[in-house]
Symmetry: D2
């Protein structure tokens, strides 16, 4: 607040914004909490929506966002609650619009109804964006809303407004794909380290090994309103074959190959970064764009494939094993899978050989047959298959890290992207819940299970 | 279309998009006009809104925009009409939402009503923006709508949708202010020449004289979706005093002053460029931002002022002179103003001296007293005064060009921007229709008129 | 000077640079011309070379360059003359170094001799370059030297020093090749218009037609010390065949082809821009680099060829025709060539047909046989053939412009660049004065002439 | 080599470069070492200097540099030795030039002598720079020369040539000052970590703490021929007072101040990065430029000062203490300084208090009086005082790190840069070996010592 007030020429502004500033200031310094704070809030935001907002919108938006940024957690909750409750649709106007539609329904009357039913919160969000650095501040505010949603379910309508406004602003047409490499500013790179959600980046040396070698690529979507923030990024390894394990890809000391020698682009990690943009989906667009761009830049690439975790598998398998009536596991498989209970099984070659066929058969059923609440129980699978990829291969012990063993007994999978088949695969998956898979994967299914697919 | 089809791998796409493409193609080549064309349109756009749109949205959006771009004027009209008529709100859903609100009005029910009443056209526009170069294509499409509006008033709802969607996308928070100077790419500069709407730029030498000298500046707003298109720009002269005529500012061979010596920044031209963005206002933000930036860069600048045309004055004055009952003109003024009927009056010093006081008195009344349909009859005046500027000076024969003489008998005015007074001036003007003016301007009013102000 | 003095904090500087400044100032204001001026010059430049120059080199260099820039033409002459005469090698040191070499010749003694014999002017030039904007100022100073050389042949040693220093600084390794297109800043483009030396650019529309269409390219070398100055540039047309006339390439309203459809890159104009860099050659490197880059960017390009003027041809031919004893022209050819004396011959198809074989035969002899002072009399030919190109085709009436008719009776030629043959062709031309030419060109030679080649 | 050969179209090149390539290849693969290798070298480099070099200089330079890069250490030594020995001045031409000068001494004859005495090595270096990436390759080659100089003193003439050529190329006028901050590409930042020579950077977090906070700055000089290589950089802290210890500046967790609040810019580390550019001095220019730029950007800054180590102090002091006859130490001081022999003295407040006055008195004499071989024994002192700074303060225990204690018993000093005094201070120091110091420092001298200064 101080910066702001000294930037403006104090006296005049005081006159301008009047008592408003004073009360905000009280509120934000915590001296006048409770009803006073709420009142001040109402007044400032009302000012922003009013004619005053036309003349001084940028300044008022800054006032509100700065005060919010400086506020305590409780004050923020209060702000959000009030915003949610007091800036809904204008009820009188809404009643009138409904009445008018009843009397004479028409496209025009529907449009009027639409305008009257829009909660005023949305215009508040749009006007707050007038401030410099408004967009990042609003994304953080949405994070605050999401973090409170469980305890304050009443904030749901506000969250819906954020989602609706962000979906319009973060339209794919406004995103730019930028390569991330060792020439990228450190300010962006440290965010790649921080946000990597699949295979943790252990520091700058690890990062360098993922960006600098000639057979590594990384791409991110950026939005002009958040210039230093990658919204989502994907890490790619260029290889000569589809890999069946993650560790060799992440080894620091490798002999890289020349990019021109690669035939296969492996998407081995894809991470969203902005919690505040939850529900605005980018991943679908990102992968397809990267496939197109790589295909153009490196014509030798013919295969575009992921190396993906299977985060829901161990949990699902545990449930099936616990359920004696489960039809997904045969008796001999159950016996073999019992050896998984030895935490050291993966170090014992004999155990591995015994477990492998049973685990892969179970995995095939997990992907192709099992449905929980009518859907594939694996979120990563839903993402790639929903994007139109096909399930290409099951990689036994592809991930021997503690996390990999815990979530999927080490199982990884490859999803294959063939641009020409994407729409058909997507259609099959979304419309009929059918997973397109390679014959190699399908063969893992016992005969009776195949019949069901 | 050809480019598109050869870019995609023909066979598969044919399967994908199926009959659709065929019908679009028929339609776009004009072989299958009428109902067929409309059907194909409906189908493609429906596909874009459907699940298929999720998987192949970028491609479908390109199909639609490319087909539209290649279409004839009549086909475009047909497309726009169909889009307007067939993609309104879902009537069943709307009826249900109204019913639900009746039964149990609540914020949730209002939100559902809002969603149900949104015309599907808006989502069509948002999805079309997925295509590369989608935003410029949509801005051109809006231009087409506006050009047809008089003959096809039924397109109004579609125009409203464009306005609503663009207002969200072109939020000031996403605009960047960039200086335009002699180091700007020629591809942008030629648009400055083309779009300059106030004082025509006669070619590259004229342009250079407005950009290159140390006492000239130009700034434009850009949007990331239209990277080479200035949306609005303002031309600025740095001077040692408030100028009272335009010609000396535009002379090609001047002795420029050093920027540091200037005390006054003169906004002598401001032009919108994108017809398709009509109704999305930028000018207000542009001027205030430029004032802030210049003040920071050149601390010696203390005065920020326009040199503006008065486009409505001659027409208003003619009407008052024709109306014997007009209270705005006294008898002696009428006599003096009769000399305006000699087209060469401005070359005759004696005539000028006779006309000057009468014309300035009339001008003072035009700005301070006269109202047509309750508002100031001057559009440029409404813009600057609505932005919170004050009327600083009336410049007799400030513009001796044929256009200047025709529209305002050569009158120009200076509007003064004082950041600290902007909100109060705006309030006065918008709320009470009172124009804040300097005492010099106010003195031009006869005593009895002052009383009315 | 004023700017400089107010930038520095006056009092102290006066102390610093002492009387020096005063005398410079006298000199540069013209009050103390003659011996005083020369003395002041000597002192300032001596200061720059001295220890004082170590501490304040940047400032002293600015003083000298600013004073020079502001000086009158006579003062500049005086400055250059003094610089040339008074800053030669230190004679005492040189004598000692010679003596030492006599006594004991060794590499070390040779090195000492080299150091002692370097004129101090070169270090002056290097130190002047410490000033901001020093390089362009020095390039302009060299222009001044060149312009005076005929009248002041005594400046030759100074010119040699410039040439030597510039050859080191403008080493090809420090040049960057940049495309020039319609997105290039206007400040650079106006220099393209100004410097185009072969086919005049008639203004911005003409420029646009050479840069913006998809089948046009332009490239320039830039040096970091002259950031806005293209040093040399080449204009390229992408075509489907080797063109035989210039007019169709320069037509404003053409239907351009897609770059990917072109098989041939035509270098139709190459221009040096900096007179002050005379003798530092870039053209050789430019063409080869552009050939490499285009070949990489557009793999369909297989032919790299010029369309070039023949500026020495008409003059040579006139001399041969006037010389009855010339062996280059046969009797029937002389008769045919007499028709050239009708200035309208090129509009008369019959005359053209009669002249064509004789003119082409003469042209073949001009290139392949005729030598003046032991060398090919055509400067453009010497440039391209010396670069290792081969003479591919003679284009009768390729340039019907008045200039084209005057300098070569309309003749143009194509030089072909085949990277693999460049070294051999160069060797042949430079070592043995043999022009490599296509068989089509060679066939134009009468049998007896062939024998001589 | 392989890359190169496949890049060129094999067959033709073989013809072109002929046997040359073969022998180089033999040489570089080590199969034909000894006389063959040397011969091949001679031939290639001769080719580069010859007419062949005009046509194919870029390619030949690449051949040489690539072969050199791939060579073993012994081969490199051989290459450098041969280059040094076989490419001196042309002896016949030199003899003739000397003779001519004897007969008729003149500026022209001196110039001819200069040209004839230039070792051909220099032209070799200039031609090698034609290759892409030639400059960094040559800087590395000079590093190799320097590393061999002790064992191969015969390489000195070659080293001199490098120094001479680099001094011309790396003229300050071609350097650009660029800020280094947290937005700088990681590829550059990792070099800052690697090259920091004064206060080791412990990794990326440490680096961040020196670049990202608002009260930290870093600047480097770059040369266009080495685009990713900072040549020299300086780290700056913005503070409210002249600091007297380094540790608080380097603490990771600090509360930074706003840049606008700072009055003092502290240069606490300056590091050269390119060993291969030894002898080309940048530091002088860097500091002065940074002072100018900071003064412009942050007008509140009034003091520009270093916080510097005193690397020669402990060694000098040990010698004086060991020398009973030394006049620099009084008896009581000797007693006090004996406590330095306890390695833990700096943790004992009483010892510190006892040592302080004696150590500071000794330090004052070290800087102001003591001279070794006629000069100040401290290299950092020579650098800053030679630049024209003044010795502002002695900081007792300013550096408690092991290195600081070892080299200077923890002493640090501040050198103050006052632009206006720089030339005078420089003059005093260089001409008369007088160190300009503050009265505070001078007061540390015992009366009798003062008399000597």
């Amino acid at each position: 607040m101080k910066t702001l007030l000294t930037n403006l020429s104090g006296r005049k502004v005081a006159t301008l914004v009047g008592d408003l500033l004073e009360t905000i200031s009280l509120w934000s310094t915590g001296k006048g909490r409770g009803p006073v704070g709420a009142d001040a809030l109402l007044e400032t935001v009302e000012a922003l929506l009013s004619r005053r907002g036309e003349a001084s919108g940028v300044m008022l938006a800054r006032l509100v966002l700065d005060a919010y940024e400086d506020a305590s957690a409780e004050e923020k909750t209060l702000f959000l609650r009030t915003l949610c409750e007091s800036f809904g649709a204008d009820e009188t106007a809404l009643a009138a619009a409904i009445e008018a539609f009843h009397v004479a329904p028409s496209p025009q009357a529907a449009a009027r109804l639409n305008a009257a039913s829009e909660p005023r919160r949305r215009e508040v969000l749009r006007r707050l964006n007038l401030a410099p650095e408004g967009t990042p501040a609003l994304v953080r505010m949405r994070e605050d809303v999401l973090a409170r949603l469980r305890e304050e379910p009443g904030l749901k309508p506000l969250d819906d407004d954020f989602a609706q406004v962000f979906a319009s602003w973060f339209n794919r047409g406004f995103l730019t794909l930028r390569p991330i490499d060792w020439h990228t500013p450190a300010a962006v790179l440290e965010k790649i380290i921080r946000y990597e959600a699949v295979h943790v980046i252990e520091g700058w040396d690890d990062l360098r090994s993922r960006l600098a070698p000639p057979d590594r690529r990384c791409f991110a979507f950026f939005h002009p309103g958040l210039p230093d923030e990658p919204l989502i990024f994907v890490e790619v390894a260029l290889t000569r074959a589809i890999p069946d394990a993650i560790a060799p890809l992440l080894v620091l000391a490798r002999d890289p190959i020349a990019a021109e020698e690669a035939t296969t682009a492996v998407f081995y990690s894809i991470s969203n970064t902005q919690k505040g943009l939850a529900g605005v989906s980018f991943g679908n667009f990102l992968i397809k764009q990267v496939v197109e761009d790589l295909r153009h830049a490196l014509p030798n690439l013919t295969t575009f494939v992921t190396l993906s975790p299977v985060p829901g598998f161990a949990k699902w398998l545990a449930k099936e094993r616990a359920d004696a009536a489960s039809t997904h596991l045969g008796a001999s498989e159950r016996t073999a899978l019992d050896r998984l209970d030895d935490p050291e099984w993966h170090r014992d070659p004999a155990a591995c050989e015994a477990i492998r066929p049973a685990l892969l058969a179970a995995a095939a059923r997990y992907f192709l047959v099992a449905r929980v609440d009518g859907r594939l129980p694996d979120p990563v699978g839903r993402f790639h298959l929903g994007n139109g990829a096909r399930l290409e291969r099951l990689d036994f012990l592809g991930d021997r890290s503690p996390q990999g063993l815990a979530q999927s007994h080490g199982l990884m999978v490859n999803y294959l992207y063939v641009l020409e088949d994407i729409e058909r695969n997507h259609e099959e998956f979304v419309e009929r819940s059918v997973v397109t898979a390679s014959s190699e994967v399908r063969k893992r299914l016992p005969r009776e299970a195949v019949a069901k697919v």
